[in-house]
């Protein structure tokens, strides 16, 4: 016997409460990433195989510092959100899903901070 009220049954599983924010953040970061990714590929063609001095000369220009940091922020934010969705789709046990998502989020944060620090260190030791 179904003990739920008519309203409860009509609502079904209902909303999970936090999907919209995730969805919008995924799109905004994607919009930012589209031009930033092309900028990065174009730039990478310049420092492929370059020595440190060449890379540093490039990475210490203000415009490149700003764009690189924006690229890093958008990339880790977007990738972290995206991988969360993939895990939610494929990992069945709730505890394993939650641990995996947490690991992705905090690893992305760690990598992002390490990358930004590196950009600044290269730029400010020029």
């Amino acid at each position: 016997m179904d003990m739920r009220s008519h309203l409860g049954r009509a609502r079904g599983p209902g909303s999970t409460d936090n999907g919209v924010e995730h969805w919008i953040s995924e799109r905004f970061s994607a919009i930012a990433l589209a031009p930033l990714s092309l900028w990065f590929i174009y730039s990478a063609l310049g420092f492929a195989g370059a020595d440190y001095a060449t890379f540093q000369a490039w990475q210490s220009q203000p415009g490149n510092v700003i764009l690189m940091i924006l690229f890093l922020l958008a990339m880790f934010q977007h990738g972290q959100l995206g991988l969360t969705v993939v895990f939610e789709d494929y990992i069945q046990p709730v505890w394993l899903k939650n641990i995996s998502v947490a690991i992705v989020k905090y690893t992305a944060l760690l990598f992002c901070v390490a990358c930004i620090f590196s950009v600044l260190r290269v730029a400010f030791t020029a």
């Binding site: 799109r27 063609l45 993939v86 789709d89």
Partner: protein
């Protein structure tokens, strides 16, 4: 919470492959691959943060044949995922939902990413990329 009867994502193995489904799963594979790419990217950029010796070691790793092969894959993944991401967001605006359009833009994404990957690597290997 009645979580047990929430809908699941479609199971890939019961679907006959079509342009739509293949283009779609490649988008996901490229997205996940690019996340692996961020690990390598972090290694490379933090090496630069450590200084010249570490950076030049990382440059040698990236420049090895294996490194270049992996970079080639990431180049394709990034072009593909970017182009198809724009296609996704056109759908989000309600554009391009007719089957003919969906198939056509799917093939355009594939063609675009193959051509751009080829062009990028032509420039990279001919050494004419400059800043």
């Amino acid at each position: 919470m009645a979580s047990s009867n929430r809908p699941l994502s479609p199971h890939l193995q019961v679907y006959r492959p079509q342009i739509t489904s293949v283009v779609s799963i490649i988008h996901r594979i490229c997205g996940v691959s690019l996340m692996f790419g961020t690990v390598l990217f972090t290694y490379w950029l933090t090496s630069a943060g450590y200084g010249p010796a570490a950076f030049e070691r990382a440059q040698a790793v990236m420049g090895s044949w294996l490194g270049q092969l992996i970079m080639f894959g990431f180049t394709f993944a990034l072009y593909y995922h970017t182009a198809n991401g724009l296609r996704h967001m056109a759908w989000d605006l309600g554009l391009g939902f007719e089957m003919t359009a969906v198939n056509k833009t799917g093939m355009m994404v594939v063609a675009f990413s193959l051509i751009m990957t080829g062009l990028t690597w032509y420039v990279a290997l001919s050494g004419s990329g400059g800043l």
